[in-house]
Symmetry: C2
Subunit: 184 residues, 2 copies
């Protein structure tokens, strides 16, 4: 089934490659910022995990700031390059965001949406594929559970990322996104 | 089903984004090489298409030269950057290869394996997913057919790429890979 395949693809083709190298990338990034949290350095285990957003509606946007102005792009981690399937030096680049909490304090973390949800969203739009909104939500849940199982059993990946399921029924609440990211 | 989802993911998440921009990238690449075929410029419609290799066994390697020494990495096209799903300036970079034919003449083209086949390969290795070699070959064929149908009906993509199905039963023949790439 589609969600299962996309979860495997996300793990084998991305998380399994990138997560083991994340710590080194964070170290390099912090040194350029003199390890100062005020400069955006990622100073604790929470901030140096990859936070992956999974909206249940699969509505992924390019800029999380559009969802919540308390979330703001800060900088990139140093890019990783790998030869993959004939593509020489394919680039993998993660983004660091600042998140302001209700008290106005700023936190930094590595953040992105789960890219495969874009495929689920677009597949549901294609009339030839014919799956509508309730099925799409179901597929996102299947994707989330499959991914969570894979990651828990993966030595390279467990504890290096965090899956954040976003219930879109609550998306209308002000600052829902930032509160969910900071909630852990 | 898995192959179908991966074909959609490959189209929506990559080909649909990259293929419309390919012509401009090729033009930029050629100008740096003074439009001289001897310098590796891509001078005809054949060479400026994205050639995508699909081995039926799903055995994708990082370097096609390992399959056939007549194939050799030449250079990169200029990279494309896009904001995708929270990842700012995600990089898409294609590779140009030189292919020597039986007469010793050199041709250049944009080449890569279909990366999602790596997922199919690795899924078949996982005991928890349990699909073996015959199923894997079947999945590659399903992936190929689904992708071909999607691309034929896509205005942004048709005629801008070429799917090259590789029958691994013939992979033992010397220079099988280069002959299949040049065969069109
Ligand atoms: N956030 C994020 N950053 C990345 O750099 C990245 N690279 C892959 N992925 C996601 O991991 C999974 C496995 O990737 P795979 O390479 O097997 O398939 C990829 C691959 O076959 C092709 N593709 C995408 N980006 C590139 C690229 N830069 N070069 C070549 N092929 C690419 O199109 C498929 C779908 O891509 P996405 O729909 O963006 O999501 C992928 C996918 O869900 C990424 N996700």
């Amino acid at each position: 089934n589609v969600a299962h395949g996309l979860a495997w693809s996300f793990y084998q083709g991305y998380l399994k490659l990138v997560l083991p190298l994340l710590e080194a990338g964070v170290e390099q990034y912090n040194q350029k910022r003199h390890n100062l949290p005020a400069e955006g350095a990622l100073t604790d285990p929470w901030s140096s995990r990859l936070h992956i957003l999974l909206p249940l509606s699969a509505s992924v946007c390019a800029h999380p700031e559009d969802d919540d102005p308390r979330v703001s792009f800060h900088d990139h981690l140093p890019p990783m390059e790998m030869d993959r399937a004939g593509v020489r030096k394919r680039v993998f680049k993660n983004s660091v965001y600042s998140i302001r909490d209700a008290k106005g304090q700023v936190h930094y973390c590595i953040l992105e949406y789960a890219t495969p949800l874009l495929t689920l969203y677009q597949m549901s739009q294609e009339s030839s594929v014919a799956f509508g909104l309730p099925e799409r939500r179901q597929q996102v849940l299947l994707f989330y559970r499959a991914l969570r199982n894979i990651l828990e059993r993966s030595l390279e990946c467990r504890n290096r990322c965090r899956l954040i399921l976003l219930d879109d029924a609550r998306a209308g609440e002000p600052h829902f996104l930032s509160s969910q990211i900071l909630k852990d």
